[in-house]
Symmetry: C2
Subunit: 228 residues, 2 copies
Amino acid sequence: AIVDAVARALADGPLTGRHILITSGPTHEPIDPVRYIANRSSGAQGTAIAAALAGMGARVTFVTGPAAVPPPQGVAVVRVETAAQMAQAVEAALPADAAVFAAAVADWHVVGAGASKLKKDGSGKPPALAFAENPDILKTVAHRPDRPRLVIGFAAETDDVVRNATDKRARKGCDWILANDVRPETGIMGGTDNALTLITAEGAEDWPRMTKDQAARRLAHRIAEALA
Amino acid sequence: AIVDAVARALADGPLTGRHILITSGPTHEPIDPVRYIANRSSGAQGTAIAAALAGMGARVTFVTGPAAVPPPQGVAVVRVETAAQMAQAVEAALPADAAVFAAAVADWHVVGAGASKLKKDGSGKPPALAFAENPDILKTVAHRPDRPRLVIGFAAETDDVVRNATDKRARKGCDWILANDVRPETGIMGGTDNALTLITAEGAEDWPRMTKDQAARRLAHRIAEALA
């Protein structure tokens, strides 16, 4: 508690008095009690962003799926597992001055994921699963009348990174997109570095490869400028 | 290194000179570069079994999927991600005096999991995925002419635990099955306790609920008796 108080005192900064919402980590969508569909996300970049924003004085609500890295100190942590739970937690955390959607959210969930383990039926074919689209959290929040002044999405891409991310920014109605190339050979997924491109109304700005902590601080400063 | 040497010296025991193969943790089957299908398994029970066997002097090869708990000290660790990789690692680790298949292995993998991220196509439907059955590691090893003298499988069940596990023992051709009830309300999956039923040619033996460490030591003693 003393450490927290000291951290808060030191954290008085350019974002003091602001509430910022961050989503981070993967979602897990159950197939049955023992199987699920997951997105690859260690939660490292979202966690670093939350820490950087809290370090600049923001009040941070951190909505996290089952991530590999622990959540940062000094933020309000809301743990969820599925995309639907994340959407609910985000809605409950609004209003906010800014929102950063860094989580890797599943696009679909399995309809009627049951209480019994699915069994092989001898046909060599998997059981037929019915899928339904998950709520689009970024798009929904960006279109709310009481939306945060700054809504920031992420685009993890493997092809045509800038074009796909620019399209995504328009389609979702968000202010900024942070795009990165997550092909395995980049080593970004699960690694300590990131190489981001910031897509805004003004165009695309390539950031050099840097650590995820450095990228987080750079983003936090940009957010502070935008909210000033 | 000193700690390891001390551990080995202390570990001279009833399983000294025996090689035991253990699989543990989940497998992850890629859908595309950012998504995968996983089984729920913390790796806690497999890790505890490996530690108990090493503690009784066995030389342990520990083939593990991406588990939540770190592998134990004093064993040879082989890290894999998919069921196919696990099958290869198991084959490479044979011969062994006993094998304990504690991993939660995916029954199917996605055929042609690609290098590009799958995109929503606007139809509201997920991309069609083709699945193929994974190698049945337990059954394959149990039917090898040079099979370990003692082949032990696990059965994580949600219904008719003993009947399903007894059927599994016959179907796989293994010597023992350790069955447990993994319905979420038991708290076993991801928890510290386990409640196992040991299925052998002689029938079903219910073990009381105990910690996973205690269950591991009980199993290790039974293995030592069987190999004596």
